[in-house]
Symmetry: C2
Subunit: 134 residues, 2 copies
DNA sequence: TCGCAGATGCGAATGAATCTCAGGAACGCG
DNA sequence: CGCGTTCCTGAGATTCATTCGCATCTGCGA
C-alpha cells in the first residue's frame, strides 16, 4: 500500500493524518499480518523512524478504536494488532507464539448456541492451538 | 467437592497437598467457573484465609501446569482460571468481562483447515463475543 | 533431635500498556 | 501575515497483573 492510499485509508476512518500515524499505518497495513506494539516499534526504528513508544501505543489504540486494525488477545503476554479487521480465525503456535490466519472458507461452523438472554453476538472466533510434531 | 476429595485430586496430579493449596483448590474447583487470580484471592480473604497474593499466583500456575485448571487468555487485562479443563467453548461478554461456558454439544465445527506443516493440533476453541442488546 | 527438601510469603523486579503534561505544529480567521 | 485555538507528540512516570529472589519456616525421615 502506498503512502497516498494510506492517507485515504486514514481519512476514511475519520483519523487525521500525521507523519507518525502514516508511518505506523504503513508498517501494520503493509500486508496481512499480526504484530505486537513492540514489534511495530522495532520495525519503525529499523527504518530510521524516531517515533516514541507512547505514540506507537496511542496510535494503535486509536487505530483499533476506529476499526483500522483489530486487537487480538491470544498470547497471555501481549496484544497483537491484526491488519485484517473482519472476523476470521487463527492458528496459534504455542511454542513460538506465532499467529497465522486461517483462510475464511476453511472453517465451517454448523450450529451456534443460543446467546445468553439480552445479548447480541459481536463476533465468533476460532483459535486452533498447534505445536510442533513430536 | 469435599476437602478429602480435593486432597485426592491434588495427589492424582502429582501435587503435594499443603493447606494453602487445598484452600486455593477448594475455591476454584468448587464448581465449574472462571475466576481471575484476584477474584480467588478475594474469596480466600473473605473466608478468613491469609494466603499471600504471590502464593495464589504461584499455586494457580502450578495447578495449570499439571492440568488441574486451565488458563484462559480472553480478556486483555488478566488471565482467567477455568475449573473445566477439557477443551470447550466460551461466551465472552465484552462489556462486563463475564465469561460463560458454551455447552459442548451446541457448537459443531464442520471442516477444519489443514494444519501448518510440521505441526499438530493441540486444541480448538471457539470464542463468541457478545454485548448487551441495544 | 538434626538436617534437608520443599513450601511459603514478602517485597522487589518485570513488562506491557496507559497517563501526564509541556512544548510544538497545523489550521482557521481576520 | 499574525494570532489564538486545537490537536498531536513524546519522554518519563505510573499502573497493574504477574513473576522472581530469597530468607524463613515446616514436616518427615534418619
Amino acid at each position: 500500500m502506498s503512502a497516498i492510499s494510506m492517507l485515504d485509508e486514514l481519512k476514511r476512518h475519520g483519523v487525521s493524518a500525521t507523519p507518525q500515524r502514516i508511518e505506523v499505518a504503513t508498517v501494520i497495513l503493509e500486508r496481512p499480518q499480526h504484530l505486537s506494539a513492540e514489534q511495530i516499534l522495532e520495525r519503525l526504528r529499523s527504518k530510521g523512524s524516531r517515533v516514541s513508544k507512547a505514540t506507537v501505543y496511542n496510535t494503535l489504540k486509536l487505530f483499533s478504536d476506529c476499526g483500522l486494525v483489530k486487537e487480538l488477545t491470544v498470547d497471555p503476554n501481549r496484544k497483537f494488532y491484526d491488519s485484517t479487521t473482519h472476523a476470521h480465525h487463527h492458528f496459534y503456535h504455542v511454542e513460538t507464539g506465532e499467529l497465522s490466519d486461517i483462510p475464511e472458507d476453511q472453517v465451517e461452523i454448523m450450529s451456534l448456541p443460543p446467546l445468553p438472554a439480552g445479548t447480541e453476538q459481536e463476533s465468533v472466533e476460532v483459535l486452533i492451538r498447534v505445536r510442533d510434531c513430536r
